[in-house]
């Protein structure tokens, strides 16, 4: 059996808050904290409900990686678009999609964000420019680049954020797309949510080039590694990339180093990594970090902090209630949303 890969968190002092010099406002920290806490509690509950067999399908949790979406959202505009993989619960939550429609989607109910037709891996929310939720590893890379192509074609200064795992970096689609995105200077920002494991295969065991930020070099794409446990670092890197994209200078690749505290999916025994490695990364929990900054600056008192937790709890509980009280799609719904053509002549003998 192969030796377990050991991946170390980025070297920072534990609970390094350095509040005196923070560039970010009270409001930003409170938003990060609230967004991340909502994602964390929502997904913790999702994990429990999944184990209780309240719904089926695959279920990939984002727990541990929340600083990436939190920092991305505060550095972007509502008119920008987002596309990601099947680990897609956190993105719409951070964008402000109501948790109820997400929970209903997990339950396969007609009130779900994809009418119960997409499930955990295929969340969409057009109102928030959240363009999925894609189940094939790497498929979103050219598609999200096509979204950026359309923005440039239409002459807007919007950007598209394309998220992927470290595993997707090995797909041919990425390399074909990077080439065209650079040649055409498309306003796209590639975010590698690098949690070091493509399911159970570590970066170390899947490539000779372990510094994923170097993947952009062949295409002369501006690239950098970012501490993914820090919403501050993510925000700054995304802001810089957005500026580049909006002024017409094209894409950026961000290798954002993070860690998923849970398994790849709900059926992952996690024999490919040590408990010590997981524990070491959990010390860097971005939610704890934001709360520390807030407390040290006395931006919120204990009651206000408890109020946030209570609000989050209520949102999650209400989402479950909403989902469980929502109807399943009627059988005839199968024939809706397959074609835009309303009178498409399906073969209805089966």
């Amino acid at each position: 059996m192969a030796t377990k890969a050991v991946v170390k968190p980025t070297k920072t002092t534990k609970k390094s808050t350095s509040t005196g010099t923070t560039k970010f406002s009270k409001e930003t920290y409170i938003k990060w904290y609230t967004d991340m806490l909502l994602i964390r509690r929502f997904e913790e509950k999702v994990g429990q409900l999944y184990i209780q067999q309240k719904f089926g399908g695959f279920c990939h949790l984002y727990i541990g990686q929340e600083a990436i979406v939190a920092g991305t959202i505060t550095a972007s505009r509502p008119t920008d678009s987002h596309m990601t993989t099947y680990r897609d619960h956190a993105h719409p939550l951070a964008l402000g999609t109501n948790p109820r429609v997400l929970m209903a989607e997990l339950y396969g109910r007609t009130t779900g964000c994809s009418k119960g037709k997409g499930g955990s891996m295929h969340f969409f929310d057009k109102e928030k420019n959240f363009m999925g939720g894609h189940g094939i590893v790497g498929a979103q890379i050219p598609m999200g680049t096509g979204v950026a192509f359309a923005e440039k074609y239409k002459g807007t200064d919007n950007v598209c954020f394309v998220s992927m795992g470290d595993g997707a970096v090995r797909q041919g689609a990425l390399h074909e797309t990077f080439n065209m995105a650079m040649m055409w200077k498309l306003p796209v920002i590639y975010i590698i949510e690098n949690n070091n494991y493509a399911m159970g295969t570590s970066v170390e065991r899947s490539t000779n080039v372990q510094d994923l930020s170097k993947i952009g070099d062949s295409y002369e794409m501006p690239s950098k590694s970012v501490n993914g446990m820090s919403p501050e670092a993510v925000h700054e890197a995304i802001s810089e990339a957005c500026e580049r994209a909006r002024r017409g200078d094209g894409p950026t690749l961000l290798d954002i180093r993070t860690y998923r505290f849970k398994g790849h999916s709900m059926s992952d025994p996690q024999k490919y990594r040590t408990k010590e490695e997981v524990a070491e990364w959990m010390e860097k929990d971005p939610i704890d970090h934001c709360l520390d900054v807030i407390k040290e600056n006395k931006w919120l008192n204990d009651t206000e902090i408890t109020d946030i937790a209570a609000w989050v709890k209520k949102e999650v509980e209400e989402s479950i209630e909403f989902a469980e009280n929502s109807p399943y799609p009627a059988p005839e719904e199968l024939y809706e949303d397959v074609y835009m053509q309303k009178d498409y002549p399906y073969i209805k003998e089966y």
Binding site: S114, M143, G172, M183, Q341
Partner: protein
């Protein structure tokens, strides 16, 4: 009316639609500077500029995915594949992304996109360059699949495809691009999913589509001299299939032969044969016959090609078999 080549009919369709709608654009290998590998897009770069007629690197999966993403934003890409054999590399984006986007997003995002290019055997090109994809793509709900056989149909159907709000697979042939035919001077549209009776007849119905239609016409001429009257249905679209047209014809002729350029298993011909035994059983005076390519990969040598492809004598034999005249 005027006489044009098949490639010119396709070009007219694209030119007219690009003039009508600034959201329509063309991309693919060699479509711009080179004026098209088969000269379908000749002159389009000059008229529309490099923003809308776009040369891509050889990266079918990548540029197809980019086009699918652009279509989600309301643009209307026309993706040209040099041949559909190369589009196998892009099948993930056609089948997993474009065909399923509307459904997986619960109706929020759709893909108004056309995928077009040469399809089927085109001479001595060996196995990987000689495949017909009608049945492959017809199998996939969410797509529409068009298989024109004449310049007239090609133009009217391509215009319909570009205006359609669903993803459309449009199958041409390198062997047809030089074919000539008459088209009207002005704009016209042919609706997707409507078959065309290309020849009226009373004794046997021949159902076919695409390039191999020529074999049907030739066989029908010869059979006419022997006193056998063939009705020829050109499906024009294989998803959806105009079953009504086929059944109504067979109710008149009571016999049917399906002519298909591709392989026999899980084919358009097997689908039609099923449909006829189910919905025209009492009208059939003979088993439904079919003529297809051999159940083998396409090969290089002329003798092997001759054996593999459907041809006039085989079709004539099949027609006569339905009349018990062999």
């Amino acid at each position: 009316m005027k006489t044009v080549q098949f490639r010119e009919a396709l070009r007219e369709a694209m030119n007219e639609e690009m003039r009508n709608d600034p959201n329509v654009f063309l991309l693919g290998e060699e479509v711009a500077e080179y004026n098209g590998a088969y000269k379908v897009s000749q002159g389009m770069l000059d008229e529309f500029g490099e923003k809308r007629v776009i040369d891509t690197p050889i990266a079918e999966l990548g540029f197809t995915g980019i086009a699918v993403g652009a279509s989600m934003m309301g643009l209307r890409p026309i993706v040209e594949f040099m041949t559909w054999n190369f589009a196998i590399l892009a099948a993930d984006q056609i089948i997993n992304s474009a065909a399923k986007m509307l459904q997986m997003s619960g109706g929020q995002y759709h893909c108004p996109i056309v995928f077009r290019g040469g399809n089927g055997p085109a001479g001595q090109l060996g196995a990987t360059h000689s495949q017909s994809f009608e049945a492959f793509y017809a199998h996939v709900p969410g797509l529409k699949v068009i298989t024109p056989s004449t310049p007239y149909d090609a133009k009217g159907l391509l215009k319909a495809a570009i205006r359609d709000n669903d993803p459309v697979v449009f199958l041409e042939s390198e062997k047809m691009y030089g074919d000539k035919g008459e088209i009207p001077e002005g704009e016209y549209i042919i609706p997707i999913g409507v078959a065309d009776i290309k020849r009226k007849g009373t004794d046997v119905t021949i159902v076919s589509f695409g390039k191999i239609m020529k074999v049907a016409h030739e066989a029908a001429e010869i059979l006419a001299k022997e006193g056998i009257s063939c009705e020829i249905i050109d499906l024009r679209t294989v998803r959806p299939i105009d079953y009504h047209c086929i059944v109504e014809s067979v109710k008149r002729t009571n016999r049917c032969v399906v002519l298909e350029e591709s392989w026999p298993l899980a084919s358009i011909s097997s689908e039609i044969a099923y449909h006829l035994q189910r919905y025209a059983f009492d009208y059939l005076d003979a088993p439904v016959m079919r003529v297809t390519q051999t159940d083998t990969p396409f090969a290089f040598s002329p003798t092997l090609i001759e054996e593999a492809l459907p041809n006039v004598p085989r079709l004539i034999n099949a027609v006569k078999a339905t009349l018990y005249r062999n």
